[in-house]
Assembly symmetry: C2
Homo-oligomer: 130 residues x 2
DNA sequence: ACATTATAGAGTCTTATAGTCTTTGATTAA
DNA sequence: TTAATCAAAGACTATAAGACTCTATAATGT
């Protein structure tokens, strides 16, 4: 069980966008160079972030990607969910009702991690990264 | 990113062993029936648990598996680590030193989950499951 | 000896991840 | 209005991981 590389790329890209804070959008070409990843692949990842409303894109010359308003409060969890999906890490298939302790423990522990990931915002990341 | 089915089997098997608490070992055949999984596959999972010292096995007629002494304090995390391995969920490959905030956040959040999984023991599970 | 049961390894099947290539569509600058 | 520039979408391929299966071997009790 590992985070996908796509999640890694997404986190770094969001940090890059947040740091550069230029008014003009940044092209996928540039973003890709900073992480040794192919532009076409990164663009698929960026499209997911756009669909979640964290990033806005503009086509055409001088186009590219930029963070949307309110980016400061985007959390790690938001980014991770955008890429990995929102479903639980533990799924047994069956459902033996509310007395199932296994599920309870697994889900609660996962929730602890998510709480922390929700607490950490892009703004906080930028703050400590520069 | 999901837990593997093997982890699921391992957790259920450990619970089954803990609940049945018979003095005689239980064969993989029996353990497999309780979860609709093939005996040969479950045996591979059990072998991992044996190697971690949580379960002891005896070959031959009337053989099978049983929990080792001190099973009460085995945690969810112990079981999960035995199957999934102990490496971190987030690995970026590179290492940009201690000022890397991305890694810091990811690892700390993971640690929160593990704390909780460490707190939950087999004994506690049995207690609330019967 | 013989039946029973765990262990080990190779081998298969399926699914998910990671990535490429190509086409289309939007936008801007000339 | 045309050409260049960029994102979006989809089909496609490749690699790796997960989820098994099969067979052979070793240990143990009767
Ligand atoms: S006991 Fe709980 S974890 Fe196990 S199969 Fe039933 S619902 Fe799922
Ligand atoms: S910045 Fe941190 S997470 Fe990113 S590659 Fe460097 S060490 Fe890894």
């Amino acid at each position: 069980m590992k985070y996908s590389k796509a999640t890694n790329y997404a986190l770094h890209t969001m940090l890059n966008l947040a740091m550069s804070n230029s008014s003009k959008p940044i092209g996928v070409q540039t973003l890709a160079e900073q992480q040794n990843v192919s532009p076409t692949y990164l663009s698929k990842i960026l499209t997911k972030l756009v669909k979640e409303g964290m990033v806005s894109s503009v086509s055409g010359a001088n186009g590219g990607y930029s963070l949307t308003k309110g980016w400061e409060s985007i959390s790690f969890l938001d980014i991770i969910f955008a890429i990995e999906g929102k479903s639980s890490l533990f799924e047994c298939g069956l459902d033996h009702g509310p007395h199932c302790q296994i599920q309870k423990v697994m889900l609660e522990s996962e929730e602890k991690m998510e709480e922390e990931l929700r607490r950490q915002t892009l703004a906080g990341l930028v703050q400590t990264s520069k």
